[in-house]
Amino acid sequence: MFRHTPLRYATLAVLAAGMFAAAMTAEYFGLEILTEIAILAILVLALDMVAGFGGMVSLCHGALMGVGAYAYAVLAAKAGLAPPVAMAAAIAISGACSWVIGAICARSHGIYFIMATLAFGQMAYSYAFDSAALGGDDGVSGIPRLDLSAIGIDLNDGQSFALFCLLALAAAYGAAVIILRSGLGRSLTGIMHNEQRMRAVGLVTWRVKADVFGLSGMIAGLAGVLAAQHIMFVSPGLLAWTVSGEALVVVILGGLGTLVGPLVGAVLFVLLKHEISNVTPYWHLVVGVILVAVVMSRANGVFGWIEARVARWQAPRVISSRKEQVKNA
């Protein structure tokens, strides 16, 4: 069950302060990286919601993000809808697609669930790749950013857009926390621990899975909308299964089922990628080796490892204070 611990609050505060400071001080390239981090962080939040709290390891979240990006691109750039309307519609569309996928896959478990979501993701990828309406291999360009000039903000400015994405990240985090702490989110965690028993106490388990998967898809769709606005261009590569795979890697590197961990993972992943790319063109090799090492270590990612260490450090103190109570009694 999700709950905030002092460590999680502290980590959130450090992340928020660090990102805000970076947004205020960074140059062009730094702002690009910051925006990339914020968008990836939103995507991995969505993935951790279902994978870490529902055991639904999805390999289609990259594609769901792509659905959001394409929906926004087509509605805003081709159909000429106003950006805010297109944004809301795009999020709703990816949520709806996600709900349907979640409902269909709800019966599958373990490796079959992974494969089934992979299949749906690839279906979307192939469709985008072959569809003339979506620009095929060339994608869609000329995507407008949200126009906030009414309140004196120009999102075409890198810094404003980075701050906008950070705000969206904060909103997505808030939404994820509310959902995970709600009755629905708790039911999902119950299903992860014992689906048969949840059914036996009267829960329609596929509905819970589909609903949370749909909500998670909306958050992934938000990431997609922002990604489309960020580079002002979408291409089928956005929906490739490796994007989903990378998101899963980030969740694992950060700490599955901690919600805060994946945020840490997103920061580390993007920074690492850029740092390694500066040194060698073979950054995949480095990430691959790190991933293997993290999984082999059996720690729950970087943040999970820290949490475990802190818990171990606290445990002896609790025991010793109990012993003292016994003595005093």
Binding site: M1, I178, I179, R181, S182, G183, L184, R186, S187, T189, G190, H193, N194, Q196, R197, M198, R199, A200, V201, G202, L203, V204, T205, R207, V208, D211, L215
Partner: protein, 247 residues
Amino acid sequence: MLETRNLDKSFGAIHVTRDVSLKLERGERRVILGPNGAGKTTLFNQLVGELRPDTGSIHLAGEDVTALPVATRARRGLSRSYQKNTLFDGLTVAENLALAASVATGNAMNMWTDSLAKPEIRDIVDDVANQVSLIPYIHAKVSEVSYGVRRQLEVGVALATRPLVLLMDEPTSGVGPEMAKGFHDLLNNLPRDLTLLIIEHDMDLAFDVADTITVLNYGEVVFDGLPEQARGSQLLKEIYLGSWEDA
């Protein structure tokens, strides 16, 4: 309250339930006895909907529920506990109870409010924890409490759905005689209007709780009556006690 009419089920050539007709009145406490493999758990699985009977029907509070899925029957008031602990192992005792209570109170699909913080759910959790003596362990993780406590929680989760009929599959299986006795006291203290159907292996313990007794053998009802009659029944001794001593 709960009624079965001519329930029949086979797995291939094995006839596991033969023409079982039972009728439980509201507040009745019935114990099902029978040797291993008599079809007791299979009967439970059909009652709650985890298995479909081949023929026959099941009625809950006057309504035919034979075709309804497990979850719907549970929401209509038919709850069960399992012979093998079927709990949410990574969660605390309170969270286990709250999950069941949130379904019963219609909070399980709510997207906004924290179900654990709702007073109506907390009340059920406290109430059930009290009924099955779980108060001292309420914030412990299931994986950290003893087997006996988990057996209590197994019944507790079923109770937290606020059922009309509670089916218990060997609630005392695997616990020592001392604890089993305590368990039966606990069952005797449950509200009198709750209908109980209990699978029990130990005859003496069964007589502690039962208003009525049903004996199954090879999927068939071979005895249906009061405990006193059961105690004296020659047929029962042969079928049930015979195989009991063999085992």
